[in-house]
Symmetry: C4
Subunit: 120 residues, 4 copies
């Protein structure tokens, strides 16, 4: 069982999509590794600067897989999309997982911004 059940990424901020640019597209993404033999169920909570939390979001990672979730896509059950602006993400998994989070900004050329994870 490798990993932790709680992961916090304190700096989400979806980058704008400049028109006319090719690949790779500006985005933020969450990568989750499930090294174990059971499917991982993640409860996701989003915090904002000037509004209450968005709760009741969930993600699933099959056993022995890594999944890449695009934060600018409707990846959740239902059609919720994350609004532009500052947010933070708190993940709670029922089994240990390993997560990383990063942004690709294309407003001027191309800039990667990895967000340091906090876990416990």
């Amino acid at each position: 069982m490798i990993g932790k059940k709680v992961w916090v990424f304190a700096d989400g901020d979806l980058p704008p999509h400049p028109e006319g640019l090719g690949e790779p597209k500006a985005h933020e993404a969450l990568m989750v590794v499930n090294y174990g033999a059971e499917e991982a169920h993640l409860s996701v909570e989003l915090l904002f600067e000037d509004a209450g939390p968005k709760e009741d979001l969930s993600l699933t990672v099959p056993p022995r897989r890594v999944k890449c979730f695009r934060m600018d896509m409707p990846i959740w059950d239902g059609d919720y999309v994350i609004p532009f602006g500052q947010y933070a993400m708190v993940l709670t998994s029922d089994v240990p997982v390993v997560a990383v989070f990063g942004r690709l900004d294309r407003r001027k050329d191309m800039a990667y911004y990895p967000v340091a994870p906090y876990t416990e």
Copy 2:
């Protein structure tokens, strides 16, 4: 209660603001997540290379919120602004929080520099 009460960011160095550039502006920022139910009060101390520490700075984060503090702005009580040059930041919070720190440098195109947090 998710987080830690002590956070150190060892490499602050406010980037210059080249003239004539549009968004996003060069800056450094501190993001703090307060996942708990009580307001977080942070004591902030700045260390420098050739001068004594700047003490008695403070920041506040409401419960269940993330806040983004722009280090080049007068975000503190009073009108203190961080001088250009090397500095480090030591945060002490009265409740557990999660913090990340990053720089956006615009001197040539656009470069993100995230600073690895130390916590205890």
Copy 3:
């Protein structure tokens, strides 16, 4: 004995090689420090999004050395090469080591993407 025996890098994704570009080449690399007096033997397992794990890969680091492994090269025994697309890497060493992982993307200029390590 400095280091840990388990290291996970949750976000591998080999960048394409644009034609006509000089050095430095787009790539991903794993750096492993063996500070101890014994050779380090690393078992490497790769996880994917839509396929089962690749197991039985191994790497070796001499005592008192750092080694840089280029992930786009046939660095393993045999001629296995990592396919394009999302992957994650789980390292298990027989002695404590320190590892970091990073990407250099050249699709537009040059962008470094370091992947936050998880260790236990």
Copy 4:
């Protein structure tokens, strides 16, 4: 007493200095925070890929200060300079400190590469 006594940075690789570029210069740097009341004395050891370690290097950080050490400069006692190519750095301090390490590559525009610290 905030910090740790052992810090490892697994990926040093001094970037070349392209001619004719203005500030900021390509470089690698080590930032060390000494939050305590006593001067910090750091023993530094460098590891390489194909040569034995360089030992007996030392650095000093005054109490209540942050210091930025430029890795491409003769920052050590004597005139030792780090050779080009892969290296790793192991720091051992007599008092707890906090350290971060980063590279600025200027071969194409400007790219920051922060190296994830390992500490114990």
